[in-house]
Amino acid sequence: MIKVFVTGVGVISAIGTCLDENMQALRLEKTGIGVDKYLSTKLQVPVGQVKYSNEELKSLLGLNTDCIISRTALLGMLAAKEAIIDANLEFKTQKIGLISATSVGGIDLSENFYKSFREDPNSGGNLEEVLMHDCSASTLAIAQHLGIEGFTSTISTACSSASNAIMLGARMIKAGMLDTVLVGGTDALCRFTLNGFNSLKLLDEEVCRPFDQNRKGLNLGEGAGFLVLQDESCLSRTPYCELTGYSNVNEAYHQAGSTAEGDGAFAAMTEALRVAGLQPSEIDYVNVHGTGTPTNDSSEGNALKRLFGNQVPAFSSVKSYIGHTLGASEGIEAVYSVLSVAKGYIYPNLNFEDSMVGLNLYPATKWEENARIKHVLSNSFGFGGNNSSLVFSAIK
């Protein structure tokens, strides 16, 4: 049986443009959620925005600041590049692949295009702003920036997109189709998703409070997170950990909601444990999806109780640091989960005060390091009932 190892990580989010900055903010309990600077939206809601303009991101990447490229692609390029450098990779192997995920693609640009286009379809709007509308454009930009010429793919299953990209990469390694693959996700904040979640009345007007009895909703965020997965035979450095479990299930209940009992979340976690060959009691930490919406957290909480009974392991949501980064969320949070296994980190769940009535669930609220962590379970659940979980394990 081929094992899948994590040998590189890269991340950009509202709390930092690289791994070290992210870890530092998590340690210091510094949220990245605040006032919007770059979107020019009318909505007065806090967001987890990356603290650089598009021009600044282009400079960081060494790109011409005049080029028109989606923020989704820019964020992805930065995180993917960090992961490649971290993994000490050289692009000599033909089999290196890139599987990226996004839920918005380049709509941050096409919403500008469309504003003029709708007035005058035959000549309105700058066509360069619509070239990156489709989801694969950001993947192509990352591949070209990093010189990746092997297998590429793009996945979009709403908020579980990046988890599915990671899972596909692992399965392709296990099948012997790839030996090294860059996997993760990227999504930029845009007015489209901000208004979408606002129309669903799911946005908190303050910093979100995952798993708290008085939670009001989620904050949207942006960023990207990538992992380098490798087969044991071609490790380019000492791995962080092993990816032992993954799952993709559908709740088949509602296009945008989940069952109160958390059927989908329960099935996703159960299946990931089955693939990893682990008992629930062997999980030491759960990075919960924990968006801060009333329904997600109670349904995920119920699923935790069903799976772990009264022995729920340490768990927390990082959404009150970075917001819900949609298609990128499991890319970023997988990076955090990998570090949790490698360094024994447990991340504080900010803004938690009161446990949800009837559930008696208390997330970790203090930063911990050197905790004894062998196995981490990480959840992401999306629209369309697309639920996924991953398991990262310490190397035996």
Binding site: T157, A175, F192, S199, N248
Partner: protein, 318 residues
């Protein structure tokens, strides 16, 4: 790798449509009411969702209760109509209070999710959005699943043409010398041969960007040799020729380099037009032609060239 059988197929007929007087290939919309009986769900669905869901239901036919181990969808454009409606409302009402339905239905996984909802299919559910290689990603995933021990996987590809997408892509020059198109096609794949089995997928591969006729021909020969085959063993070759001068020339040169023997040539984009998942229609036509006109055991190859994004090859056996 286990053999992968195409056990069922669904595809819709085409009709000639037009935008601003320019002809295009449009799906002849079937009577969706008779296919999607859940009126509540149907009423909320945009056209592409109805197209996708109907095609999936028709593909399963009287086997709607089959235990599906996966639903895998592929789309280059996603749900354009819902995306545009929400975007339009957002601008029109200046980010005021908006109807969430179009937002919810704008996500790329909407059709895969709606099929899962209608069938109560709780298994694996995935959506690929990789432009002209979306179908190829979906088929790769399906082949992986079937090799991991799963038995029945539904794979579907869809892209709709809307007035705005046509206008935008025409302005970008995509339809110069090239018929605009759309399409929806579903396939029920399995590891077991059934009495409805049409063909077997032997393998598929993708080629990097920036191809020329020499590199494509080499790739075809190398790909066929993996299966112990030579170009002269092919009974049929389906080409994604779309009228674009540069790529059409590559196809022509590849055909002459390959020195095919008695292979017939199928040009499917003359019917379905150009759209990101047109290879799915090519696959349907290839399987239909191969299974009705050729001997059992004969081979067909599909070739689609997309110099800017990546080309692909699919090998089919009757």
């Amino acid at each position: 790798m286990k053999p992968i059988y195409i056990n069922k197929i669904s595809s819709f007929d085409y009709t000639v449509g037009e935008y601003t007087g320019i002809p295009c290939a449009k799906i002849a919309d079937p009577d969706y009411k008779s296919i999607i009986s859940n009126a509540n769900m149907r009423r909320r669905m945009s056209r592409v969702i109805k197209m996708g869901v109907s095609s999936a239901l028709i593909c399963l036919g009287n086997q709607a209760d089959i235990a599906l181990d996966g639903i895998i969808t592929a789309t280059g454009w996603g749900c354009l109509e819902d995306t545009e409606k929400f975007l339009n409302d957002m601008i029109k009402y200046d980010e005021g209070s908006l109807n969430p339905t179009t937002f919810i239905q704008s996500t790329f996984n909407t059709i895969g999710a709606q099929i899962a909802l209608l069938l109560s299919a709780k298994a694996y559910n995935m959506t690929y959005v990789h432009r002209s290689l979306s179908l190829e990603s979906a088929l790769t995933d399906a082949m992986l699943l079937l090799n991991e021990g799963k038995q029945n996987v539904l794979v579907g590809a869809f892209d709709e043409l809307t007035s705005s997408s046509f206008t935008t892509l025409r302005r970008l020059g995509i339809y110069r010398n090239c018929l605009a198109g759309e399409g929806v096609n579903f396939f029920l794949l399995g590891t077991d041969k059934t009495d409805t089995t049409l063909a077997q997928i032997k393998g598929l591969t993708t080629l990097p960007t920036g191809t020329n006729s020499d590199s494509v021909s080499e790739s075809v020969i190398r790909f066929l040799s993996v299966y112990g085959l030579h170009p002269s063993d092919l009974s049929l070759i389906a080409l994604g020729k779309n009228g674009k001068l540069a790529s059409d020339r590559i196809y022509d040169e590849v055909i002459s380099i390959l020195a095919l023997k008695d292979a017939s040539v199928l040009l499917f984009k003359q019917t379905c037009g150009e759209y990101p998942t047109a290879m799915a229609f090519g696959l349907v036509k290839t399987v239909e032609q191969l299974s009705s006109n050729s001997e059992v055991g004969s081979y067909a190859l599909l070739l689609n060239i997309d110099e800017a994004f990546g080309s692909s090859l699919i090998l089919i056996q009757h």
